[in-house]
């Protein structure tokens, strides 16, 4: 799992890490922030440059190396945005419509699948994620153990995955 091979296949690494870096970037700067792709591209370019210039010396894993570059770039981005905001108001961030339509269709499918789950799974999802009660509070309210709460959530997730594949 952890790649320490100095002669790592850069293309493969980039292919694998683009989605992870994208996830982290979007989580940090906002899913609908139109800048996210630019930030991701900058990070990837930076990673390639650093690996090529021999800056990655495999003292840590490639994952940790990329994570460090990613979080630094995000901090810079947020600082830079805060400075800009101090001088002029940012125009409203509009989601990319094509992406939104696709996302929306998938979200609708997931929603309808959740709706089809048995009540014992639905109630856990409702209390835990929608009402944001703690695992212990959910357990108490449903008269089951906290461990059982996690089990039901995980099982619901598995069922969803299966239903979505059908």
């Amino acid at each position: 799992m952890i790649e320490k091979d100095k002669n790592l296949d850069l293309d493969e690494v980039i292919l694998k890490y683009r989605s992870i870096v994208s996830f982290k970037v979007r989580k940090s700067i906002g899913n609908y922030n139109p800048d996210w792709e630019d930030v991701v591209n900058e990070i990837i370019t930076n990673v390639i440059e650093k690996v090529k210039s021999g800056e990655f010396r495999a003292e840590s894993s490639i994952g940790t190396f990329i994570y460090t570059i990613t979080s630094r770039r995000i901090i810079d981005y947020i600082r830079q945005k805060t400075k800009v905001l101090k001088h002029a108001p940012e125009p409203a961030i509009l989601p990319d419509p094509s992406e939104t339509v696709e996302d929306e269709e998938r979200a609708e499918r997931i929603a309808s699948r959740i709706n089809q789950l048995k009540p014992k799974f639905k109630e856990v999802l409702y209390l835990y994620y929608y009402k944001e009660l703690s695992r212990e509070e959910v357990a108490q309210q449903l008269g089951i153990s906290p461990r059982k709460v996690s089990e039901r959530v995980n099982y619901a997730q598995k069922l969803l995955k299966k239903m979505l594949k059908e």
């Binding site: 799992m1 952890i2 694998k16 890490y17 989605s19 992870i20 996830f23 982290k24 989580k27 894993s61 994952g63 940790t64 990329i66 994570y67 990613t70 979080s71 998938r106 979200a107 609708e108 997931i110 929603a111 959740i114 709706n115 639905k122 109630e123 999802l125 409702y126 835990y128 994620y129 929608y130 944001e132 695992r135 996690s150 959530v153 997730q157 969803l160 995955k161």
Partner: protein, 217 residues
């Protein structure tokens, strides 16, 4: 497959329940553990959908827990199909248009009305001139303001009940002797005048004014 020790952090991470250091540790972990990253993505997607569409997905649970009182509304609503509801709404709108929009144009002019001695009306009034306060002797005449020509006035004098009433075309009237004889000093009396048009329609009423005849020394 052995469970990763970080798996339990997935929910707390996505629900923003981790401290900054724990968050960074977990992030670094999923940059290195593709199994955890896959789970994070799948769980994140599920949570996002639940947060965005939860009100609809959990409508039943929602009604049970948060709006028990609204259950009757659901029942009432499901009594008709949406199409029937639309028809009912259209019918109501039509009735409203007829009642408030059309009918007022066909309404007859104000009806003529007749009232008896016990009734009062809101409308034109007759102003009484004399007597309107306590007087020292039994009044020889009663006077009021003239309202117009050719009207007929009807005067009523009350003790506890009606003592006397008479009609005149003048705006004053003298009491007949048999009535003045009945009036006693120290007693309270009241009087009122109603005005009628030549056709006999009541057009104005005075207020009922009380007066007292002081006892002579």
């Amino acid at each position: 497959m052995k469970k990763c020790k970080f798996e339990d952090a997935i929910d707390n991470y996505l629900l923003n329940n981790l401290a900054e250091a724990e968050k960074e540790e977990f992030e670094e972990h999923y940059f290195n553990c593709s199994q955890c990253f896959e789970k994070v993505v799948a769980r994140d997607e599920m949570i996002q959908v639940i947060k965005a569409k939860g009100a609809r997905i959990f409508r039943d649970e929602y009604v049970v827990e948060e709006a028990k009182g609204a259950a009757w509304f659901e029942k009432a609503w499901s009594f008709f199909t949406p199409r029937q509801w639309a028809a009912a709404a259209a019918a109501l709108a039509l009735v409203a248009v007829v009642v408030f929009g059309v009918l007022p144009h066909y309404r007859a002019t104000s009806p003529q009305f007749y009232i008896n001695e016990e009734d009062t009306v809101r409308g034109g009034s007759v102003t009484l001139i004399s007597p309107i306060i306590d007087i020292k002797s039994i009044p020889s005449y009663f006077e009021w303001k003239k309202l117009g020509d050719d009207l007929e006035y009807k005067i009523y004098i009350y003790n506890q009940k009606l003592l006397w009433s008479a009609s005149t075309k003048e705006n004053k009237i003298s009491l007949p002797e048999e009535i003045t004889k009945l009036m006693i000093a120290g007693e309270k009396y009241s009087w009122q005048v109603k005005a009628f048009s030549p056709e006999g329609t009541l057009i104005a009423v005075s207020s009922r004014v009380q007066f007292k005849i002081s006892k002579t020394e």
